[in-house]
């Protein structure tokens, strides 16, 4: 019976998955392979086997170690802020206030704005003189001629602000739809017992939507380094590598220093690290989807 039901399904699935093997699995395997060779694209001749030497270089490369720290900063700080602020906004939007309906549409904007354009939006906003910050400063009587992108600390803060700006509204919309699936009666009961708005959400909403928050957080962690175009436009990784995460360092090695072997090593190392952490969650999500339909 089971086989009969599946009959005719594999011919629909297989061609696509073979194509996906060709364009996804093969490149990943090739990248991992390249990390074990010396490859010089500017010189003719075959690649030479390097064993683990590219990886050995990784751990004595200060720039790489720096990029690991920047990666951690660019993942954990923005994702934490996105979740906390996003949850707060979702709580606010659940109330039928004057402009909450309108917020639902405005919140789509950062989610669809091309990342390169968001980079430009932020660059234009913080550039001294022509920038929006200078304008806001002049309204408050402050002379904002500081170039935030010229100093490591403020440059990193600007990138983090852009990342929060990009991700938070969408997180808020996701958490809002989770909050709306909770029945009103629970809140009403809590209200009668004299709970404040904040206590209500703390004791009812938070436990209910914890699984959603976790899933959203995983996806945001995986997406955090998709901020590449923003960094490319805003700071190009600088100053002094202060906004250069691992994937950007791999890009610089591959396409500016033309060291594709080392670039492959950097990015494959990152891929393995990321996947060891996130794969269990992804499999779990896939399992849930698989069960849901059954």
């Amino acid at each position: 019976m089971k086989n009969a039901r599946n009959r005719g399904l594999w011919p629909l699935i297989m061609p696509t998955f073979l194509a996906l093997v060709a364009i996804t699995l093969v490149p990943i395997v090739v990248t991992s392979g390249m990390s074990f060779f010396y490859i010089d694209l500017t010189m003719p001749g075959l690649p030479r086997f390097a064993g683990l030497e590219n990886y050995a270089e990784l751990f004595s490369d200060d720039q790489f170690l720096r990029s690991v720290i920047v990666t951690a900063q660019l993942i954990f700080v923005p994702v934490t802020l996105q979740i906390v602020v996003g949850l707060l906004l979702a709580m606010v939007m659940k109330e039928k206030l004057r402009f909450t309906g309108w917020m639902r549409i405005a919140f789509l904007l950062p989610a669809v704005i091309p990342p390169a354009v968001s980079g430009l939006v932020w660059k234009l906003f913080v550039v001294p003189g022509a920038g929006g910050l200078t304008y806001l400063g002049s309204l408050l009587g402050v002379d904002m001629q500081l170039d935030l992108l010229s100093m490591p600390g403020t440059a990193l803060a600007t990138v983090i602000a852009a990342s929060v700006w990009l991700g938070t509204p969408f997180v808020a919309l996701l958490l809002l739809s989770a909050l709306e699936s909770i029945g009103d009666d629970q809140y009403e009961a809590a209200r009668i017992d004299g709970a404040s708005w904040f206590q209500m959400h703390w004791h009812i909403s938070l436990p209910e939507i914890r699984p959603v928050i976790l899933t959203v957080a995983i996806f945001r962690i995986l997406e955090a380094l998709a901020i590449f175009p923003v960094i490319y436009v805003l700071t190009a990784g600088g100053p002094a590598g202060s906004t250069q995460p691992i994937n950007y360092y791999a890009y610089v090695n591959g396409f500016e220093y033309l060291r594709v072997d080392y670039a492959a090593t950097i990015i494959f190392f990152f891929f393995v690290g990321m996947m060891t952490f996130c794969a269990p969650f992804l499999v779990n999500i896939a399992r849930r989807e698989g069960k849901e339909a059954a």
């Binding site: 005719g8 629909l12 699935i13 364009i23 091309p114 920038g131 904040f198 899933t215 891929f271």
Partner: protein, 272 residues
């Protein structure tokens, strides 16, 4: 329902965030209508004398318009290729009752979650050899790495929503799986397929890393070409802003058009 001080708090949170959200975009919009002199006025002004010169210059810039056309062609091509790949696979996976299902679904998610850079290097090397470098076809293939899994994941949910009874009746009548897929499932899931296609279009339109590394002149898309206005002699902010608004407009319209589906679909797997 809310007490007064709670209401004030909610309004304060909302107002602060909306300011943070809109201020940079409003500034982009205002700059796009400013004359060069007004852009660097001191102190700066939000609205100066309004001019359309920036838009005229960008729209009259043959190189930029070519990249805009490339964006349209590459994004449309990506939609077609991704849908051709995703539709049968998503339908098959939705109906499949096998242990392989979870493995395939996990793979779909994992491929999407991998960093783009891991694909770029092999694509760069092989495209150079295959003559796909700096071609729209090459860029479409590269984009499909992310958009096909995205589309599969979105479409599965829509196919799952089709009641089984309809299909079982057709099966009993002797229809093949392919016939059911084409004549029953696809027409019923059409609204979902349309919003999935729009989402893939938005994704391809916004793609940056592949376009940056795998195109030079011929196939360059608008989101990379806009950086041309940030030259060594200084950035032409008026043109950057106008071009930015032009690139942003189509996807913003699309997003509003599918807003009902947008949150569930763009999340791709984030639910309960």
């Amino acid at each position: 329902m809310l007490r007064t001080h709670e209401k004030i708090f909610c309004y304060a949170v909302a107002t602060t965030f909306i300011l943070f959200l809109l201020a940079p975009v409003v500034w982009l919009l205002s700059t796009s209508f400013k004359q060069q002199l007004d852009i660097f006025a001191s102190p700066p002004r939000l609205i100066g004398s309004i001019t359309f010169a920036n838009y005229r210059q960008v729209l009259g810039d043959a190189e930029f318009m070519k990249s805009f056309l490339n964006s349209v062609l590459v994004s449309s091509g990506t939609v077609v290729l991704s849908m051709l790949l995703a539709l049968p696979a998503a339908y098959g996976l939705s109906r499949l009752r096998s242990r392989a299902k979870v493995a395939l679904l996990s793979w779909v998610l994992l491929v999407r979650a991998a960093p783009g850079m891991i694909y770029v290097i092999p694509f760069f090397v092989s495209f150079t050899q295959l003559g796909l470098m700096d071609t729209r076809t090459g860029l479409i293939i590269a984009n499909t790495v992310f958009t096909a899994p995205l589309a599969i994941w979105i479409l599965i949910a829509f196919f799952d929503g089709i009641p089984h009874e309809i299909e079982e009746a057709a099966l009993v009548d002797g229809a093949t799986r392919w016939q059911i897929f084409m004549r029953v499932a696809v027409p019923i899931a059409a609204p979902g397929i349309a919003s999935g296609a729009i989402l893939v279009f938005i994704f391809a339109w916004n793609e940056f890393l592949f376009a940056l590394t795998m195109t030079r002149f011929e196939a360059k898309t608008a989101s990379v070409a806009i950086l041309n206005y940030m030259g060594y002699e200084g950035t032409e902010w008026g043109k950057v802003a106008a071009a930015g608004i032009l690139i942003l407009l189509p996807v913003a319209v699309f997003a509003v058009a599918i807003r009902k589906y947008f949150v569930q679909t763009a999340a791709g797997g984030v639910k309960g």
